[in-house]
Protein backbone atom coordinates (compact mmCIF):
# COMPACT_ATOMS: atom_id res chain seq x y z
CA UNK A 1 0.00 0.00 0.00
CA UNK A 2 2.77 2.40 0.95
CA UNK A 3 4.54 1.58 -2.32
CA UNK A 4 1.44 2.30 -4.37
CA UNK A 5 0.91 5.58 -2.57
CA UNK A 6 4.44 6.63 -3.43
CA UNK A 7 3.73 6.12 -7.14
CA UNK A 8 0.43 7.97 -7.02
CA UNK A 9 0.48 11.42 -8.53
CA UNK A 10 -1.76 14.16 -9.77
CA UNK A 11 -1.73 14.27 -13.54
CA UNK A 12 -3.57 16.10 -16.30
CA UNK A 13 -5.27 14.11 -19.07
CA UNK A 14 -3.17 15.69 -21.81
CA UNK A 15 -0.02 15.09 -19.77
CA UNK A 16 -1.00 11.41 -19.49
CA UNK A 17 -1.30 11.21 -23.29
CA UNK A 18 2.19 12.70 -23.69
CA UNK A 19 3.60 10.30 -21.10
CA UNK A 20 1.78 7.36 -22.65
CA UNK A 21 3.22 8.22 -26.07
CA UNK A 22 6.75 8.30 -24.68
CA UNK A 23 6.20 5.01 -22.84
CA UNK A 24 4.94 3.40 -26.06
CA UNK A 25 8.18 4.42 -27.73
CA UNK A 26 7.04 7.49 -29.69
CA UNK A 27 10.03 9.55 -30.73
CA UNK A 28 8.48 12.01 -33.17
CA UNK A 29 5.77 14.65 -32.83
CA UNK A 30 4.72 17.19 -35.42
CA UNK A 31 1.81 19.47 -34.78
CA UNK A 32 0.24 22.86 -34.75
CA UNK A 33 -0.87 23.65 -31.19
CA UNK A 34 -4.59 24.13 -30.60
CA UNK A 35 -6.74 24.37 -27.48
CA UNK A 36 -7.58 22.06 -25.73
CA UNK A 37 -4.74 19.79 -26.90
CA UNK A 38 -1.83 22.23 -26.54
CA UNK A 39 -0.32 20.68 -23.39
CA UNK A 40 0.50 17.52 -25.34
CA UNK A 41 2.70 19.53 -27.73
CA UNK A 42 4.18 21.59 -24.88
CA UNK A 43 5.21 18.54 -22.89
CA UNK A 44 6.57 16.62 -25.86
CA UNK A 45 8.53 19.69 -27.00
CA UNK A 46 10.39 19.48 -23.71
CA UNK A 47 10.67 15.73 -23.33
CA UNK A 48 11.25 14.32 -26.83
CA UNK A 49 14.65 15.97 -27.45
CA UNK A 50 15.93 14.66 -24.10
CA UNK A 51 15.14 11.12 -25.28
CA UNK A 52 16.79 11.65 -28.66
CA UNK A 53 13.43 12.23 -30.34
CA UNK A 54 12.23 15.08 -32.50
CA UNK A 55 9.54 17.72 -31.99
CA UNK A 56 8.52 19.92 -34.90
CA UNK A 57 5.96 22.69 -34.83
CA UNK A 58 4.83 22.83 -38.44
CA UNK A 59 3.16 25.68 -40.31
CA UNK A 60 -0.26 24.04 -40.12
CA UNK A 61 -2.14 20.81 -39.45
CA UNK A 62 -1.89 19.52 -43.01
CA UNK A 63 1.89 19.59 -43.01
CA UNK A 64 1.97 18.24 -39.43
CA UNK A 65 0.16 15.13 -40.54
CA UNK A 66 2.50 14.82 -43.55
CA UNK A 67 5.54 15.09 -41.29
CA UNK A 68 4.18 12.40 -38.97
CA UNK A 69 3.71 10.05 -41.93
CA UNK A 70 7.23 10.74 -43.17
CA UNK A 71 8.77 10.16 -39.76
CA UNK A 72 6.93 6.88 -39.36
CA UNK A 73 8.08 5.71 -42.79
CA UNK A 74 11.61 6.43 -41.62
CA UNK A 75 11.01 4.17 -38.64
CA UNK A 76 9.98 6.37 -35.71
CA UNK A 77 6.77 5.87 -33.81
CA UNK A 78 5.03 9.17 -34.47
CA UNK A 79 2.05 11.19 -33.36
CA UNK A 80 0.26 14.47 -33.71
CA UNK A 81 -2.33 16.10 -31.45
CA UNK A 82 -5.09 18.49 -32.37
CA UNK A 83 -8.72 19.46 -31.88
CA UNK A 84 -11.76 19.71 -34.18
CA UNK A 85 -10.62 22.44 -36.58
CA UNK A 86 -7.20 20.83 -36.96
CA UNK A 87 -8.68 17.35 -37.21
CA UNK A 88 -10.63 18.52 -40.27
CA UNK A 89 -7.39 19.61 -41.93
CA UNK A 90 -5.66 16.33 -41.19
CA UNK A 91 -8.27 14.22 -42.96
CA UNK A 92 -6.64 14.14 -46.39
CA UNK A 93 -3.30 12.91 -45.08
CA UNK A 94 -5.03 10.62 -42.61
CA UNK A 95 -6.56 8.90 -45.64
CA UNK A 96 -3.14 8.75 -47.25
CA UNK A 97 -1.70 7.01 -44.15
CA UNK A 98 -4.56 4.50 -44.17
CA UNK A 99 -4.10 3.76 -47.88
CA UNK A 100 -0.31 3.51 -47.66
CA UNK A 101 -0.51 1.57 -44.35
CA UNK A 102 1.73 3.84 -42.32
CA UNK A 103 1.31 3.46 -38.56
CA UNK A 104 0.82 6.63 -36.52
CA UNK A 105 -1.39 8.04 -33.78
CA UNK A 106 -3.66 11.06 -34.20
CA UNK A 107 -4.93 12.54 -30.94
CA UNK A 108 -8.06 14.68 -31.15
CA UNK A 109 -8.98 16.38 -27.89
CA UNK A 110 -12.51 17.29 -28.88
CA UNK A 111 -13.93 20.74 -28.27
CA UNK A 112 -17.30 22.34 -28.89
CA UNK A 113 -17.82 22.84 -32.65
CA UNK A 114 -18.60 23.12 -35.49
CA UNK A 115 -15.79 25.28 -36.88
CA UNK A 116 -13.76 27.08 -34.21
CA UNK A 117 -16.74 26.81 -31.83
CA UNK A 118 -15.89 27.21 -28.14
CA UNK A 119 -12.20 26.30 -27.75
CA UNK A 120 -12.32 25.69 -23.98
CA UNK A 121 -15.63 23.80 -23.90
CA UNK A 122 -16.01 20.04 -24.11
CA UNK A 123 -17.85 17.94 -26.71
CA UNK A 124 -18.07 14.54 -28.39
CA UNK A 125 -18.86 16.03 -31.77
CA UNK A 126 -16.14 14.45 -33.90
CA UNK A 127 -17.25 10.85 -33.59
CA UNK A 128 -18.52 10.47 -37.14
CA UNK A 129 -15.70 12.60 -38.52
CA UNK A 130 -13.28 10.14 -36.97
CA UNK A 131 -15.06 7.37 -38.88
CA UNK A 132 -15.80 9.02 -42.20
CA UNK A 133 -13.83 12.29 -42.24
CA UNK A 134 -11.54 11.04 -44.94
CA UNK A 135 -13.04 9.77 -48.17
CA UNK A 136 -13.42 6.31 -49.59
CA UNK A 137 -14.01 2.92 -47.98
CA UNK A 138 -11.42 2.61 -45.27
CA UNK A 139 -10.99 1.06 -41.84
CA UNK A 140 -10.69 3.22 -38.74
CA UNK A 141 -9.63 2.38 -35.22
CA UNK A 142 -10.70 4.98 -32.64
CA UNK A 143 -10.37 4.77 -28.85
CA UNK A 144 -12.08 6.98 -26.25
CA UNK A 145 -10.50 7.50 -22.81
CA UNK A 146 -12.79 8.27 -19.86
CA UNK A 147 -10.15 9.22 -17.32
CA UNK A 148 -6.61 10.47 -16.94
CA UNK A 149 -5.37 6.97 -16.12
CA UNK A 150 -7.00 5.65 -19.26
CA UNK A 151 -5.56 8.52 -21.34
CA UNK A 152 -2.20 6.96 -20.55
CA UNK A 153 -3.07 3.31 -21.12
CA UNK A 154 -5.07 3.95 -24.29
CA UNK A 155 -2.28 6.03 -25.81
CA UNK A 156 0.03 3.05 -25.36
CA UNK A 157 -2.68 0.83 -26.83
CA UNK A 158 -3.21 3.22 -29.76
CA UNK A 159 0.46 2.90 -30.69
CA UNK A 160 0.33 -0.87 -30.26
CA UNK A 161 -2.68 -1.23 -32.54
CA UNK A 162 -1.23 1.12 -35.15
CA UNK A 163 2.03 -0.85 -35.26
CA UNK A 164 0.23 -4.18 -35.18
CA UNK A 165 -2.10 -3.39 -38.06
CA UNK A 166 -0.04 -0.79 -39.96
CA UNK A 167 -2.79 1.78 -39.81
CA UNK A 168 -3.35 5.15 -38.13
CA UNK A 169 -5.19 4.99 -34.80
CA UNK A 170 -7.29 7.89 -33.56
CA UNK A 171 -7.37 8.68 -29.86
CA UNK A 172 -10.57 10.66 -29.33
CA UNK A 173 -10.26 12.50 -26.05
CA UNK A 174 -12.39 15.42 -24.88
CA UNK A 175 -11.64 18.82 -23.34
CA UNK A 176 -12.94 17.74 -19.96
CA UNK A 177 -10.67 14.66 -19.88
CA UNK A 178 -7.71 16.43 -21.46
CA UNK A 179 -7.79 19.31 -19.00
CA UNK A 180 -8.88 17.59 -15.80
CA UNK A 181 -6.38 16.48 -13.24
CA UNK A 182 -6.76 13.21 -11.39
CA UNK A 183 -4.89 10.92 -9.11
CA UNK A 184 -3.14 8.27 -11.23
CA UNK A 185 -0.85 5.38 -10.52
CA UNK A 186 1.15 4.72 -13.68
CA UNK A 187 2.42 1.22 -14.36
CA UNK A 188 6.13 0.59 -14.47
CA UNK A 189 7.25 0.91 -18.09
CA UNK A 190 8.83 -2.54 -17.93
CA UNK A 191 5.37 -4.00 -17.25
CA UNK A 192 3.80 -2.49 -20.38
CA UNK A 193 3.18 -4.62 -23.42
CA UNK A 194 4.73 -2.78 -26.36
CA UNK A 195 4.16 -3.87 -29.95
CA UNK A 196 6.52 -2.91 -32.76
CA UNK A 197 5.81 -3.17 -36.47
CA UNK A 198 6.61 -6.45 -38.17
CA UNK A 199 9.61 -6.13 -40.48
CA UNK A 200 10.60 -8.13 -43.58
CA UNK A 201 13.65 -10.37 -43.31
CA UNK A 202 16.91 -8.82 -44.48
CA UNK A 203 18.50 -9.82 -47.77
CA UNK A 204 15.36 -10.51 -49.83
CA UNK A 205 16.03 -10.48 -53.57
CA UNK A 206 12.83 -8.54 -53.97
CA UNK A 207 10.74 -6.80 -51.28
CA UNK A 208 7.08 -6.30 -52.04
CA UNK A 209 5.97 -3.62 -49.56
CA UNK A 210 2.29 -4.49 -49.84
CA UNK A 211 2.47 -8.28 -49.89
CA UNK A 212 0.51 -9.23 -46.78
CA UNK A 213 1.27 -11.91 -44.26
CA UNK A 214 -1.42 -14.46 -43.34
CA UNK A 215 -3.01 -11.84 -41.05
CA UNK A 216 -3.44 -9.38 -43.93
CA UNK A 217 -0.72 -7.06 -42.64
CA UNK A 218 2.35 -6.58 -44.84
CA UNK A 219 5.75 -6.52 -43.10
CA UNK A 220 7.06 -2.96 -43.19
CA UNK A 221 10.60 -2.01 -44.10
CA UNK A 222 11.57 1.40 -42.83
CA UNK A 223 13.09 3.79 -45.33
CA UNK A 224 16.87 3.39 -45.16
CA UNK A 225 16.58 -0.24 -44.05
CA UNK A 226 17.98 -1.08 -47.48
CA UNK A 227 14.84 -1.83 -49.53
CA UNK A 228 13.80 0.64 -52.18
CA UNK A 229 10.06 0.98 -52.69
CA UNK A 230 7.35 3.29 -53.85
CA UNK A 231 4.66 4.74 -51.57
CA UNK A 232 1.59 6.19 -53.24
CA UNK A 233 -1.96 7.13 -52.33
CA UNK A 234 -2.99 5.85 -55.74
CA UNK A 235 -4.47 2.37 -55.75
CA UNK A 236 -1.45 0.09 -55.90
CA UNK A 237 -0.50 -3.55 -56.20
CA UNK A 238 1.76 -5.56 -53.93
CA UNK A 239 4.90 -4.05 -55.46
CA UNK A 240 3.73 -0.57 -54.44
CA UNK A 241 3.31 0.60 -58.03
CA UNK A 242 0.03 2.28 -59.09
CA UNK A 243 -2.63 0.21 -60.82
CA UNK A 244 -6.12 0.63 -62.23
CA UNK A 245 -6.71 -3.11 -62.50
CA UNK A 246 -10.22 -3.80 -61.14
CA UNK A 247 -9.35 -7.04 -59.39
CA UNK A 248 -6.21 -5.63 -57.78
CA UNK A 249 -8.14 -2.55 -56.65
CA UNK A 250 -10.81 -4.64 -54.99
CA UNK A 251 -8.25 -6.92 -53.38
CA UNK A 252 -6.43 -3.95 -51.86
CA UNK A 253 -9.50 -2.16 -50.48
CA UNK A 254 -10.91 -5.37 -49.06
CA UNK A 255 -7.62 -6.32 -47.47
CA UNK A 256 -7.26 -2.85 -45.87
CA UNK A 257 -10.66 -3.28 -44.26
CA UNK A 258 -10.34 -6.97 -43.44
CA UNK A 259 -6.98 -6.69 -41.72
CA UNK A 260 -8.88 -4.68 -39.08
CA UNK A 261 -12.29 -6.40 -39.17
CA UNK A 262 -10.76 -9.89 -38.98
CA UNK A 263 -9.03 -9.04 -35.69
CA UNK A 264 -11.76 -7.42 -33.63
CA UNK A 265 -10.81 -9.61 -30.66
CA UNK A 266 -7.53 -7.68 -30.51
CA UNK A 267 -9.13 -4.28 -31.03
CA UNK A 268 -12.53 -4.16 -29.32
CA UNK A 269 -12.42 -2.94 -25.72
CA UNK A 270 -15.58 -2.56 -23.64
CA UNK A 271 -16.57 -2.64 -19.98
CA UNK A 272 -19.79 -3.88 -18.33
CA UNK A 273 -21.13 -2.70 -14.99
CA UNK A 274 -24.28 -4.13 -13.42
CA UNK A 275 -25.57 -5.33 -16.78
CA UNK A 276 -26.17 -8.99 -15.82
CA UNK A 277 -29.83 -8.52 -14.80
CA UNK A 278 -30.36 -5.09 -16.34
CA UNK A 279 -33.59 -4.28 -18.15
CA UNK A 280 -32.48 -0.79 -19.06
CA UNK A 281 -28.90 -0.50 -20.25
CA UNK A 282 -27.07 2.78 -20.64
CA UNK A 283 -24.35 2.61 -23.28
CA UNK A 284 -21.83 5.43 -23.20
CA UNK A 285 -18.26 6.34 -24.09
CA UNK A 286 -15.64 8.85 -22.95
CA UNK A 287 -16.41 11.36 -20.20
CA UNK A 288 -20.15 10.83 -20.63
CA UNK A 289 -19.76 7.28 -19.34
CA UNK A 290 -18.85 8.77 -15.96
CA UNK A 291 -22.13 10.68 -15.76
CA UNK A 292 -23.81 7.47 -16.87
CA UNK A 293 -22.17 5.42 -14.13
CA UNK A 294 -23.43 7.82 -11.47
CA UNK A 295 -26.91 7.73 -13.03
CA UNK A 296 -26.95 3.92 -13.02
CA UNK A 297 -25.86 3.87 -9.35
CA UNK A 298 -28.71 6.27 -8.48
CA UNK A 299 -31.17 4.19 -10.49
CA UNK A 300 -30.13 1.01 -8.66
CA UNK A 301 -30.62 2.84 -5.35
CA UNK A 302 -34.28 3.34 -6.20
CA UNK A 303 -34.68 -0.25 -7.36
CA UNK A 304 -34.46 0.17 -11.13
CA UNK A 305 -32.63 -2.65 -12.88
CA UNK A 306 -30.21 -0.48 -14.83
CA UNK A 307 -26.72 -1.24 -16.06
CA UNK A 308 -23.84 0.45 -17.85
CA UNK A 309 -21.98 -0.73 -20.90
CA UNK A 310 -18.97 1.41 -21.70
CA UNK A 311 -17.46 1.54 -25.17
CA UNK A 312 -13.71 2.10 -25.07
CA UNK A 313 -13.16 1.21 -28.74
CA UNK A 314 -15.84 3.08 -30.69
CA UNK A 315 -14.48 2.25 -34.17
CA UNK A 316 -14.83 -0.44 -35.32
CA UNK A 317 -18.19 -0.19 -33.56
CA UNK A 318 -18.67 -3.20 -31.23
CA UNK A 319 -21.68 -4.51 -33.17
CA UNK A 320 -21.63 -8.02 -31.70
CA UNK A 321 -21.57 -6.82 -28.08
CA UNK A 322 -24.20 -4.13 -28.56
CA UNK A 323 -26.49 -6.50 -30.47
CA UNK A 324 -26.41 -8.89 -27.50
CA UNK A 325 -27.35 -6.06 -25.12
CA UNK A 326 -30.22 -5.03 -27.39
CA UNK A 327 -31.60 -8.56 -27.14
CA UNK A 328 -31.34 -8.51 -23.35
CA UNK A 329 -32.69 -5.07 -22.42
CA UNK A 330 -36.07 -3.57 -23.26
CA UNK A 331 -34.48 -0.12 -23.52
CA UNK A 332 -31.03 1.16 -24.45
CA UNK A 333 -30.24 4.70 -23.34
CA UNK A 334 -27.41 6.29 -25.27
CA UNK A 335 -26.16 9.63 -23.91
CA UNK A 336 -23.57 11.49 -25.97
CA UNK A 337 -22.30 15.04 -26.01
CA UNK A 338 -23.58 15.86 -29.49
CA UNK A 339 -26.96 15.84 -31.19
CA UNK A 340 -26.88 12.07 -31.76
CA UNK A 341 -24.01 10.59 -33.75
CA UNK A 342 -22.94 7.15 -32.58
CA UNK A 343 -26.55 6.33 -31.64
CA UNK A 344 -27.13 5.53 -35.32
CA UNK A 345 -24.87 2.50 -34.93
CA UNK A 346 -26.83 1.37 -31.86
CA UNK A 347 -30.10 1.69 -33.74
CA UNK A 348 -28.61 -0.38 -36.55
CA UNK A 349 -27.74 -3.10 -34.02
CA UNK A 350 -31.21 -2.86 -32.42
CA UNK A 351 -32.96 -3.35 -35.80
CA UNK A 352 -36.07 -1.58 -34.52
CA UNK A 353 -36.63 -4.43 -32.05
CA UNK A 354 -35.33 -2.58 -28.99
CA UNK A 355 -36.26 0.86 -27.76
CA UNK A 356 -33.20 3.14 -28.23
CA UNK A 357 -33.30 6.58 -26.63
CA UNK A 358 -30.69 9.34 -26.74
CA UNK A 359 -29.71 11.94 -24.19
CA UNK A 360 -27.98 14.84 -25.91
CA UNK A 361 -26.46 18.18 -25.15
CA UNK A 362 -24.44 20.75 -27.11
CA UNK A 363 -23.81 23.38 -24.45
CA UNK A 364 -20.11 22.68 -24.06
CA UNK A 365 -20.75 21.17 -20.62
CA UNK A 366 -20.98 17.53 -19.59
CA UNK A 367 -24.31 15.73 -19.54
CA UNK A 368 -25.26 15.49 -15.85
CA UNK A 369 -26.10 12.23 -14.03
CA UNK A 370 -29.58 13.66 -13.30
CA UNK A 371 -30.35 14.09 -17.00
CA UNK A 372 -29.54 10.43 -17.64
CA UNK A 373 -31.35 9.28 -14.48
CA UNK A 374 -34.48 11.16 -15.55
CA UNK A 375 -34.36 9.43 -18.91
CA UNK A 376 -33.95 6.05 -17.21
CA UNK A 377 -36.95 6.78 -14.97
CA UNK A 378 -39.08 7.91 -17.90
CA UNK A 379 -38.44 4.62 -19.65
CA UNK A 380 -39.49 2.63 -16.58
CA UNK A 381 -42.85 4.39 -16.67
CA UNK A 382 -43.30 3.65 -20.35
CA UNK A 383 -42.75 -0.02 -19.57
CA UNK A 384 -45.39 -0.01 -16.80
CA UNK A 385 -47.99 1.66 -19.03
CA UNK A 386 -47.34 -0.88 -21.71
CA UNK A 387 -48.14 -3.70 -19.32
Amino acid sequence: MAETAALARLMQGNEAIAEGALAAGARFFAGYPITPSTEIAEILAKKLPVLGGKFIQMEDEISSMAAVIGASLAGLKSLTATSGPGFSLKQENLGFAIMTEIPCVVVNVQRCGPSTGIPTATAQGDVMQARWGTHGDHPVIALTPASVQESYTLTVQAFNLSERFRTPVILLSEEVIGHCRERVVLPDISELKIIDRKKPPAGLARYNPYEPGADGVPPMANFCDGYRYHVTGLTHDESGGPTTDAEKAERLIKRLNNKVMDHLDEITMTESWMTEDAEIIVIAYGATSRSAKRAVKMAREVGIKAGLFRLITIWPFPVKEVTALCRQAHTIIFPELNLGQLIGEVERAARNETNVVGVNRVTGEMITPDEILNKIKSQVKVEQHAE
Partner: protein, 181 residues
Protein backbone atom coordinates in the same frame (compact mmCIF):
# COMPACT_ATOMS: atom_id res chain seq x y z
CA UNK B 1 -19.28 4.50 4.13
CA UNK B 2 -17.08 6.52 1.84
CA UNK B 3 -16.54 10.21 2.43
CA UNK B 4 -16.75 12.58 -0.49
CA UNK B 5 -16.45 16.34 -0.39
CA UNK B 6 -16.93 18.83 -3.17
CA UNK B 7 -15.12 22.16 -3.37
CA UNK B 8 -15.76 24.95 -5.87
CA UNK B 9 -13.50 27.98 -6.35
CA UNK B 10 -14.60 30.80 -8.61
CA UNK B 11 -13.61 34.34 -9.48
CA UNK B 12 -12.27 36.37 -12.35
CA UNK B 13 -9.71 35.02 -14.82
CA UNK B 14 -6.20 36.02 -13.71
CA UNK B 15 -6.86 35.70 -9.96
CA UNK B 16 -5.12 32.33 -9.98
CA UNK B 17 -7.96 30.19 -8.72
CA UNK B 18 -7.39 27.39 -11.20
CA UNK B 19 -3.79 27.14 -10.01
CA UNK B 20 -5.05 27.17 -6.41
CA UNK B 21 -7.38 24.28 -7.31
CA UNK B 22 -4.50 22.31 -8.84
CA UNK B 23 -2.38 22.81 -5.72
CA UNK B 24 -5.26 21.71 -3.52
CA UNK B 25 -5.78 18.56 -5.63
CA UNK B 26 -2.07 17.80 -5.51
CA UNK B 27 -2.19 18.08 -1.70
CA UNK B 28 -5.11 15.63 -1.64
CA UNK B 29 -3.04 13.06 -3.54
CA UNK B 30 -0.16 13.60 -1.11
CA UNK B 31 -2.63 12.94 1.71
CA UNK B 32 -3.35 9.57 0.08
CA UNK B 33 -6.89 10.25 -1.12
CA UNK B 34 -8.56 10.19 -4.50
CA UNK B 35 -9.30 13.44 -6.33
CA UNK B 36 -10.47 15.01 -9.58
CA UNK B 37 -9.96 18.65 -10.45
CA UNK B 38 -11.71 20.23 -13.43
CA UNK B 39 -11.82 23.80 -14.63
CA UNK B 40 -13.70 26.14 -16.87
CA UNK B 41 -12.56 29.44 -18.23
CA UNK B 42 -12.87 31.65 -21.28
CA UNK B 43 -10.29 32.14 -24.02
CA UNK B 44 -8.92 35.35 -22.44
CA UNK B 45 -5.78 35.30 -20.21
CA UNK B 46 -7.34 37.80 -17.80
CA UNK B 47 -10.94 38.76 -17.09
CA UNK B 48 -14.01 36.66 -17.74
CA UNK B 49 -15.39 34.14 -15.30
CA UNK B 50 -13.12 31.37 -14.07
CA UNK B 51 -14.02 28.31 -12.07
CA UNK B 52 -12.35 25.19 -10.74
CA UNK B 53 -13.98 22.19 -9.10
CA UNK B 54 -12.30 19.69 -6.81
CA UNK B 55 -13.79 16.43 -5.61
CA UNK B 56 -12.09 14.57 -2.76
CA UNK B 57 -13.01 10.98 -1.95
CA UNK B 58 -11.77 7.78 -0.35
CA UNK B 59 -13.48 5.96 -3.19
CA UNK B 60 -13.73 5.94 -6.99
CA UNK B 61 -14.96 9.27 -8.42
CA UNK B 62 -17.35 8.82 -11.34
CA UNK B 63 -18.93 12.14 -12.39
CA UNK B 64 -16.01 14.59 -12.19
CA UNK B 65 -18.05 17.77 -11.72
CA UNK B 66 -19.30 19.35 -8.51
CA UNK B 67 -23.07 19.19 -8.11
CA UNK B 68 -23.55 20.38 -4.53
CA UNK B 69 -20.44 22.06 -3.09
CA UNK B 70 -19.57 21.58 0.57
CA UNK B 71 -17.16 24.49 0.31
CA UNK B 72 -17.53 27.48 -1.99
CA UNK B 73 -14.76 30.07 -2.27
CA UNK B 74 -15.61 33.14 -4.34
CA UNK B 75 -13.38 36.06 -5.22
CA UNK B 76 -15.81 38.13 -7.28
CA UNK B 77 -19.38 39.33 -6.79
CA UNK B 78 -20.38 37.74 -10.10
CA UNK B 79 -19.10 34.34 -8.95
CA UNK B 80 -20.97 34.61 -5.66
CA UNK B 81 -24.23 35.54 -7.35
CA UNK B 82 -23.85 32.64 -9.75
CA UNK B 83 -22.91 29.83 -7.38
CA UNK B 84 -24.26 30.70 -3.89
CA UNK B 85 -27.50 28.86 -4.63
CA UNK B 86 -25.69 25.55 -5.21
CA UNK B 87 -24.17 25.46 -1.73
CA UNK B 88 -25.16 22.68 0.64
CA UNK B 89 -27.04 24.06 3.63
CA UNK B 90 -24.40 22.61 5.95
CA UNK B 91 -21.77 24.01 3.64
CA UNK B 92 -19.18 26.71 4.00
CA UNK B 93 -19.12 29.94 2.02
CA UNK B 94 -15.83 31.83 1.92
CA UNK B 95 -15.77 35.25 0.27
CA UNK B 96 -12.97 37.65 -0.54
CA UNK B 97 -14.52 40.67 1.18
CA UNK B 98 -12.11 43.02 -0.62
CA UNK B 99 -14.37 42.90 -3.66
CA UNK B 100 -17.57 41.33 -2.48
CA UNK B 101 -20.07 43.59 -0.75
CA UNK B 102 -23.44 41.90 -1.05
CA UNK B 103 -23.88 38.45 0.42
CA UNK B 104 -27.25 36.78 -0.09
CA UNK B 105 -29.06 35.30 2.91
CA UNK B 106 -28.10 31.61 3.00
CA UNK B 107 -27.99 28.86 5.61
CA UNK B 108 -24.32 28.02 5.04
CA UNK B 109 -21.62 29.20 7.39
CA UNK B 110 -20.07 32.38 5.96
CA UNK B 111 -16.47 33.54 6.26
CA UNK B 112 -15.71 37.07 5.06
CA UNK B 113 -11.97 37.57 4.68
CA UNK B 114 -10.31 40.31 2.59
CA UNK B 115 -7.74 38.08 0.84
CA UNK B 116 -6.79 40.55 -1.88
CA UNK B 117 -6.34 43.35 0.66
CA UNK B 118 -4.28 41.11 2.97
CA UNK B 119 -2.06 40.04 0.07
CA UNK B 120 -1.53 43.62 -1.06
CA UNK B 121 -0.95 45.17 2.36
CA UNK B 122 1.03 42.52 4.19
CA UNK B 123 2.88 40.89 1.29
CA UNK B 124 3.03 43.79 -1.14
CA UNK B 125 1.60 41.67 -3.97
CA UNK B 126 -2.10 41.18 -4.63
CA UNK B 127 -1.00 38.45 -7.04
CA UNK B 128 -0.70 35.95 -4.17
CA UNK B 129 -4.27 36.51 -2.93
CA UNK B 130 -5.07 33.06 -4.40
CA UNK B 131 -2.51 31.40 -2.13
CA UNK B 132 -3.70 33.35 0.92
CA UNK B 133 -7.23 32.17 0.10
CA UNK B 134 -6.04 28.59 -0.47
CA UNK B 135 -4.34 28.46 2.94
CA UNK B 136 -7.41 29.91 4.54
CA UNK B 137 -9.83 27.53 2.81
CA UNK B 138 -7.74 24.53 3.78
CA UNK B 139 -7.60 25.56 7.44
CA UNK B 140 -11.35 26.27 7.55
CA UNK B 141 -12.46 23.10 5.75
CA UNK B 142 -9.81 20.67 6.95
CA UNK B 143 -9.74 19.35 3.37
CA UNK B 144 -5.98 18.70 3.38
CA UNK B 145 -3.12 18.65 5.86
CA UNK B 146 -0.87 21.68 6.11
CA UNK B 147 2.21 19.55 5.36
CA UNK B 148 0.80 18.21 2.10
CA UNK B 149 -0.47 21.64 1.10
CA UNK B 150 2.93 23.23 1.55
CA UNK B 151 4.66 20.46 -0.44
CA UNK B 152 2.05 20.75 -3.18
CA UNK B 153 2.47 24.52 -3.28
CA UNK B 154 6.25 24.27 -3.60
CA UNK B 155 5.97 21.80 -6.49
CA UNK B 156 3.70 24.04 -8.58
CA UNK B 157 5.06 27.59 -8.35
CA UNK B 158 7.82 29.35 -10.31
CA UNK B 159 11.33 29.07 -8.87
CA UNK B 160 12.31 32.12 -6.84
CA UNK B 161 8.81 32.69 -5.44
CA UNK B 162 8.97 30.05 -2.69
CA UNK B 163 9.40 32.43 0.25
CA UNK B 164 6.62 34.77 -0.87
CA UNK B 165 4.21 31.91 -1.49
CA UNK B 166 4.98 30.13 1.76
CA UNK B 167 4.36 33.37 3.64
CA UNK B 168 1.07 33.85 1.77
CA UNK B 169 0.00 30.33 2.71
CA UNK B 170 0.86 30.87 6.39
CA UNK B 171 -1.00 34.18 6.55
CA UNK B 172 -3.98 32.59 4.89
CA UNK B 173 -3.93 29.60 7.25
CA UNK B 174 -3.94 31.95 10.26
CA UNK B 175 -6.64 34.20 8.81
CA UNK B 176 -9.07 31.32 9.22
CA UNK B 177 -9.12 31.73 13.00
CA UNK B 178 -8.77 35.51 12.96
CA UNK B 179 -11.89 35.92 10.87
CA UNK B 180 -13.92 33.09 12.39
CA UNK B 181 -17.49 33.00 11.16
Amino acid sequence: MSQTSEILLSGTGGQGLILAGQILAEAVVRDGKNTVQTQSYGPEARGGASKTEIIISDDEIDYPKVTRPDVLLVMSQEALNRFAGLLDENGILIVDSTYIREIPAIKAKVYKIPYSKIAKETLGKEMVANIVALGSLSAISGAVTKESLLLALMSRIPRGTEALNQKALEIGWKSASQFAA
